[in-house]
Amino acid sequence: MTFFMQMLVSGIVVGSIYALVALGFVLIYKASDALNLANGEFVLIGAYVCLTLITIFQIPFLLALAITLAVNAVIGLGVEKTVLRPLQNAPVISVIMATIGLASLLGGIVHLIWGHQTRTYPQIFPATPIRAGDLVITPVYLWSFVIVMTLLLLFTLFFKYSKMGLAMRAVADDQMAAQSMGISVKKVFAVTWAIASIVAAVGGVLLGNINGVNATMAIIGLTVLPVVILGGLDSIPGAIVGGFTIGIFQSMAGGYLDPMVGGGLKEVVPFILVVFILMLRPHGLFGKGGIERV
């Protein structure tokens, strides 16, 4: 039973990191119907920027975090302006491909600036795990859980009730019609990319505190794809539930199935799960389907 509980807890905490990164995908999708495959690189950049501020410039963590979020927002804005804006009317697959190009480009820049060595954060979150009976949780994971729940609440309210939230959804639905409402697609995109980059930076800082920062961290961008799809591309709660679901399944598969098949299921299980869920719900757990009327 403890084994089971520990697996469960482990799945939830890992899932909260997934959820956080998945949020970045959902935000972009909601405004532009596209997947941002450079999301992993945004995470990476956030991690590096904060690390650099702390270790090289000796800035205290919270201030460094604030600056990092700002820097990432600016990068998001820059990317939107130079890459995404010219593609405003392009088909979705082009936008996706552009973000793949972007991933390569940003990855290269990261290499130029920070090299290839793994760097580590100084101790920020307490290292001693929190123990509840036989269960253990590392504080970083606990924090990410808290953050992700807060963001869930914030974004849900934002999209439901704010003018900007409505504008974002309108733009995702029909850009031309949104423009005719006087909604500035530019502004909406800019805001979306800024927010998404900020969310990614938060993920990056947390991840960096877990296992150091290294260019391979960007892989998280691919790892969470099943999460995003499972929850439904356009659903904020979906990203969160998807994160936890995949986290838990991974952990359970790792705990109970791995010994039977000789290991390695952790990386595959999310995809198997996604295929099953999609067969039952073609738009993920919470995603809205395309509306087609003739």
Binding site: L35, V92, M97, L105, G108, L225, I229, G264, V274, P282
Partner: protein
């Protein structure tokens, strides 16, 4: 002979099958033959190095045409090409190395097996659309590779399998140019087949599914069948490409078929031009040769920045990303569109505008 490079302006067709011919004008046909001849001559006046690169391009072209059939023409985004190349490669490896079948049977068989596997993974396409389907194909990639790396008995697991170059009556196609010719012929076949396909019933149905699937249904198109067929025929060519690649590098291993490969193929058809056979070929050449071009470029750069050797690798990465982005922004129609612009320009030349 009339100059085949001068374009026609006005020409009138009196029969439908003339209007519908692949190469509508005799000169165009002439030009195609010249082009093919040019390709056939490549090994005679270039180095092994060029022939080797060209072979990679030809193989990639076959795979890219395959992917374009599915993604460009039928509108089903696939991020799983890598794994299907793997299925092709492994099938051929198993058939030739483990079962001792001849290359000449194994490669078509590899195509068929891949078509079958592709068809199976195409089944979800009935319910899944767009990005959801795309991720399902990514799932296919992950699952297929997992199976390959675990089915030790059949596939040799993570350490892969070795293959041999084909031979005809005792003569092994070991030299660079002999394998090049083989690939050239297969590419030619692939090209003609797909060009024909898209001017006849089945190909049109594919495009109808892409443009408007509800209306396609009302035209009497069985969406399920056609989507699965599209997956199958696309995978067939991808499988052939995988088998050819396997026999070229003489090895298959799971790590050869990572998601990076899938992304490269997507880049090929996007840079080349979605929904264009010519585009797939141009894109395959472009993406295959770009790193080569970049490394020449970096060699030049390293004259000025002698100690920056390692930095240049990152610069290559940046350049790759930049090229893709620039293409998408400035030439969304891809290389095929650039090509047709050039052609149109010459068609009217010297009376442009």
């Amino acid at each position: 002979m009339r100059n085949p490079f001068v374009m026609e302006c006005g020409n009138y067709k009196t029969k439908y099958n003339h209007d519908m011919a692949l190469f509508t004008i005799p000169r165009v046909k002439m030009r195609m033959i010249l082009l093919i001849a040019l390709f056939a001559l490549v090994p005679l006046f270039t180095s092994n190095y060029v022939v080797g690169l060209a072979t990679l391009c030809l193989i990639a072209s076959i795979g890219a045409i395959g992917l374009n059939i599915l993604t460009g023409f039928t509108g089903q985004i696939s991020i799983g090409v890598g794994a299907f190349l793997g299925v092709g490669g492994y099938t051929s490896a198993i058939l030739t190395t483990s079962l001792g079948l001849s290359f000449w049977l194994a490669v078509p068989a590899a195509g068929l097996v891949t078509a079958f596997v592709g068809g199976i993974f195409g089944i979800p396409s009935l319910r899944l659309k767009g990005l959801y389907l795309a991720i399902a194909t990514l799932a296919a990639q992950v699952i297929i590779l997992f199976v390959i790396s675990r089915w030790d008995g059949l596939t040799g697991g993570t350490s892969g399998m070795v293959l041999q170059r084909p031979s005809i009556g005792g003569y092994t196609l070991m030299s660079a140019s002999s394998y090049y010719y083989l690939c050239l012929v297969i590419l030619l076949f692939t090209t003609i087949f797909s060009l024909n396909l898209f001017r006849t019933r089945t190909g049109r149905a594919f495009m109808a599914v892409r443009d408007q699937d509800v209306a396609a249904q009302i035209m009497g198109i069985n969406l399920f069948n056609y989507k699965v067929i599209a997956f199958a025929i696309s995978s067939f060519f991808v499988g052939i490409a995988g088998a050819l690649m396997g026999h070229y590098t003489m090895i298959v291993s799971p790590e050869l078929y990572s998601i990076d490969v899938s992304i490269q193929y997507l880049a090929m058809i996007l840079v080349g031009g979605l929904g264009s056979i010519l585009g797939a070929i141009l894109g395959a050449f472009f993406i295959t040769l770009m790193p080569v071009g970049l490394s020449y470029f970096t060699e030049v750069l390293s004259v000025f920045l002698p100690n920056a050797g390692h930095q240049l690798a990152a610069i290559q990465e940046i350049a790759f990303g930049a090229v893709i982005i620039l293409f998408l922004i400035f030439e969304p129609g891809g290389l095929a569109h650039i090509w047709s612009n050039i052609r149109n320009y010459f068609k009217l030349w010297p009376f442009t505008y």
